[in-house]
């Protein structure tokens, strides 16, 4: 195919075929990232359907397995096939799909995969060119391999719950403010993304080896590896992570998250020139000239009193005023935005940050592309499948054109 006749509506992964045997968020999200970039993704569900069909949010809160917002988002751009892997015909159909696939992605428990003959070892032997991506909470071996886990429990095991609220914020009360998990599938999404990157690496690697690969991802390791900055501190200083507001954890000051008159702002002014500009913005109050705050080291050492001083100022300023000051002073000062406010910005409209979808007849918006490839734009080619929607056509004729 020459450059000139390349339609821009085709994604960069056009021609890649992915079979996804996923549940919840991690593997379905990895497969969605492939589907969004043009790969043909065949999602295989059991008779009960993916558990995210039961999750919602539903139109007006009325449960409907064909109108779960999370499912509709995670499974856009996929074909749907329903197979009962506890039956011989179901397993035979699965192999029909795998025999023409480039990639198989799953986050089903290893025991289940072994029981139905779809474990990585078996598949690698049977389909030497197949990239097999398995996602599990702690990996397939090691002392924690058989532990039961889910979003919360895995997230807690990665260091990320312990360090939330995190820099430049911190826990203000160790009892009332325990380690925190955000109310979303953050860990499942992050590990789905890492699985997609790992799978992509294996696909490119296939170009060198002429064979497939087992990509074996531990969700715990994926999230731990993300926190490279915190690991560096531990490796170089050996200091335990401190959940309380602590200059050793946070670094140079001020680099704070603070309440303001009508919301919350983050103020980063860690270097000498930043501090001078910040003092200008505050109208150069007398306290700011104190020796307590005269150097980077002093501001860090005396950050507890500095924080109180700054708060006395921020509570007199609105978030919009603070943002405007940040722009004119070229300091990274930024206010909290609600999702509603973010969605309403010109910036979101300019970038197409949110995409329209219809759920059970009701209009909604979802996060659009997490990055923008100018040469091969993101597109929605088809909505998420109804349970078994494409079973007949795909198992009979192969992938629909």
């Amino acid at each position: 195919m020459s450059v000139t006749n390349q339609p821009t509506s085709q994604g960069p992964l056009t021609g890649v075929t992915v079979v996804e045997l996923g549940d919840g968020t991690s593997a379905p999200y990895a497969a969605k990232l492939f589907g969004d970039l043009g790969a043909e993704v065949i999602k295989v569900e059991g008779p009960a359907g993916d558990s995210s069909r039961k999750r919602g949010p539903f139109p007006d809160g009325r449960p409907d397995p064909e109108a779960s917002g999370l499912f509709m988002y995670l499974n856009v751009n996929k074909f749907g096939v329903m197979l009962d892997l506890d039956t011989k015909p179901g397993v035979a159909d699965m192999h029909k799909l795998l025999s023409r696939a480039d990639v198989f992605m799953t986050n089903l428990p290893v025991k289940r995969l072994v029981a139905v003959g779809l474990d990585a070892k078996t598949l690698r032997a049977q389909y030497p060119k197949l990239v097999v991506t398995t996602i599990s909470p702690f990996g397939v071996d090691g002392p924690w391999a058989d532990r039961l886990s889910d979003e919360l429990v895995t997230f807690a095991s990665t260091g990320l719950a312990y360090s939330t609220p995190g820099m430049p914020d911190a826990s203000e009360d160790l009892v009332k403010e325990p380690p925190l998990h955000p109310a979303c599938f953050a860990g499942e999404t992050i590990s789905g993304l890492v699985a997609a990157e790992a799978t992509m690496a294996a696909l490119l690697g296939s170009g060198h080896t002429g064979e497939g690969c087992h990509v074996e991802l531990s969700q715990q390791a994926a999230m731990a590896a993300m926190q490279i900055r915190d690991a560096t501190s531990a490796s170089y200083t050996g200091a335990p992570y401190n959940r309380l507001i602590n200059p050793i954890t946070i670094g140079r000051m001020p680099n704070f998250y603070l309440p303001c008159k009508d919301g919350y702002v983050t103020i980063a002014a860690p270097m000498e020139n930043h501090w001078e500009r910040l003092k200008d913005g505050m109208g150069r109050p007398a306290w700011a000239e104190s020796e307590l705050y005269s150097t980077e080291q002093a501001r860090t050492a005396n950050w507890i009193s500095l924080r109180v001083r700054l708060m006395e100022w921020t509570m007199t300023v609105t978030s919009d005023e603070m943002h405007a000051f940040g722009e004119t002073s070229q300091l990274p000062i930024f206010p909290f935005y609600s999702i509603r406010k973010l969605a309403g910005t010109q910036h979101s409209k300019d970038r197409g940050t949110f995409a329209d979808l219809t759920i059970g007849g009701k209009p909604a918006k979802m996060p659009a592309a997490p990055f923008q490839m100018r040469g091969t734009p993101w597109s929605i080619r088809r909505p998420a499948p109804r349970l078994g929607e494409h079973s007949a056509v795909i198992l009979k004729d192969g992938i629909a054109a």
């Binding site: 990996g139 609220p165 998990h181 170089y236 999702i339 910036h347 990055f371």
Partner: protein
């Protein structure tokens, strides 16, 4: 050193062997992206200068080596397996060298403020004119397009802008910021995936392209449920601590020893019965406050108090064993510094020790997946300017007299 190699066998091929990346990154996002690309076998050439050192001036430093450019842990862990070329981009000749390098690279990455590269004559249009098939990825807090493309922000601003802070926090309290500087490595990981997808496309078509990564859009991908509920049902997101919108109990509770915490997540009635049985609360399944999921959600304050009181009397490790054998998802809250010694990560090559000529062997998190047919390569971070001569005279064919002249003129400082 490499991982996953049989002792007798030939080294396995590296997935990104043959891919050359020009790295103009700073802070964490892009250096993190190119770190994994380097481990996967790409040749990553980092442009630095004594005038613009990347993170070499940032702590933590090896003990007794504060402020030494080759002793920063921040740098050494983010720049493992990369090459360092010092070029002063404030000089015209320096900019020309970087342009020529871009001409022979497959990928170019940066996370400068929007517009900086264009002013240096190194923007996508300028580079693509020399090297049309280049894949250039630019990562910014707010991206390279849109009304706010020139706004400034570090990871904390991205957290606050992205909507994620709206669902992060304790019940009935203010928005909080996710730990781990996550917007940086998260957008860096999306960047790595996007680059590899673009490489795949280029191998098929010969077409290069520009990729625009906005860190706040990477973060927005974490919260589809909240976005959909708001835009479809007009339901405002709420902060609910460690609770779940659907299941209960779902929380992080303090253990007997100070600073220890147990995560417990009950996903259905079977697990609830198992939890009550294992913790010797036979009355709870029939207690009208806790008998059904609806009741547990209505009485979630009382539920969390009751469970919190039980966990407070337990050793977290013993409680995990008890609940796991009963079939209830549960486990300890771990600190990242503990994880360098964590039995599960150690058992799976999840922590790698990389020896460095200046700071010696140091541990860091390895690539978090294994591959049975492909290799990974961990090498130490480069010394400042270690590869300048090799790259300029080798890759660019700069003659020795020209090299000496550039060096004497301060272009390579």
């Amino acid at each position: 050193m490499s991982q996953g190699q049989g002792k007798q066998s030939q080294p396995r091929p590296l997935p990104l062997a043959g891919i050359r990346v020009l790295d103009l990154g700073q802070f964490i996002a892009i250096p993190f992206c190119s770190l994994w690309l380097a481990w996967l076998g790409a040749e990553v050439i980092v442009i630095e200068s004594r005038r613009r050192m990347t993170s070499r001036t940032a702590p933590p430093f090896a003990e007794g080596r504060e402020k030494e450019p080759n002793a920063s842990g921040y740098f050494n862990q983010l720049y493992s397996s990369k090459k360092s070329v010092t070029v002063d981009m404030t000089t015209a000749e320096g900019r020309d060298l970087v342009r020529r390098l871009a001409g022979v690279c497959d990928v170019m990455v940066d996370n400068f403020s929007t517009g900086v590269l264009e002013k240096l004559g190194l923007g996508y249009e300028q580079i693509a004119a020399l090297n049309p098939s280049i894949i250039m990825l630019s990562n910014g807090a707010f991206g390279r397009a849109g009304a706010m493309r020139n706004s400034r922000g570090l990871h904390s601003a991205v957290n606050l802008f992205s909507g994620v802070a709206e669902v992060t926090g304790y019940a009935d309290s203010h928005p909080r910021i996710l730990g781990g500087c996550i917007p940086d490595p998260l957008s860096g990981t999306y960047s790595g995936f996007a680059i590899m997808a673009a490489i795949y496309h280029r191998q098929k078509t010969g077409q290069g392209q520009f990729i625009d990564v906005a860190m706040h859009e990477a973060m927005l991908s974490l919260i589809p449920e909240a976005v959909i509920d708001l835009t479809m049902n007009d339901v405002e997101p709420t902060r609910i601590g460690n609770r779940d919108r659907v299941n209960a109990p779902h929380g992080i509770y303090q253990g007997r020893e100070d600073g220890t915490w147990l995560a417990v997540s009950v996903n259905d009635e079977t697990e609830w019965a198992a939890f009550c049985n294992a913790t010797r609360h036979p009355d709870w399944p029939s207690d009208p406050r806790f008998a059904t999921l609806d009741a547990r959600q209505k009485n979630v304050d009382a539920l969390d108090l009751a469970i919190g009181a039980w966990v407070r009397g337990q050793n977290v490790s013993e409680a995990t064993d008890l609940l796991q054998s009963a079939g209830v998802p549960s486990g300890p809250v771990l600190r990242l510094d503990e994880m360098l010694d964590h039995e599960q990560l150690l058992a799976r090559d999840g922590v790698v020790t990389i020896d460095h000529p200046v700071v010696g062997p140091r541990r860091q998190m390895a690539l978090p997946w294994r591959m049975d047919s492909l290799g990974i390569e961990y090498k130490s971070a480069p010394l400042l300017g270690e590869h300048t001569h090799e790259i300029l005279t080798g890759l660019l064919g700069v003659t020795e007299p020209d090299y000496a002249r550039l060096e004497a003129g301060g272009v390579l400082s």
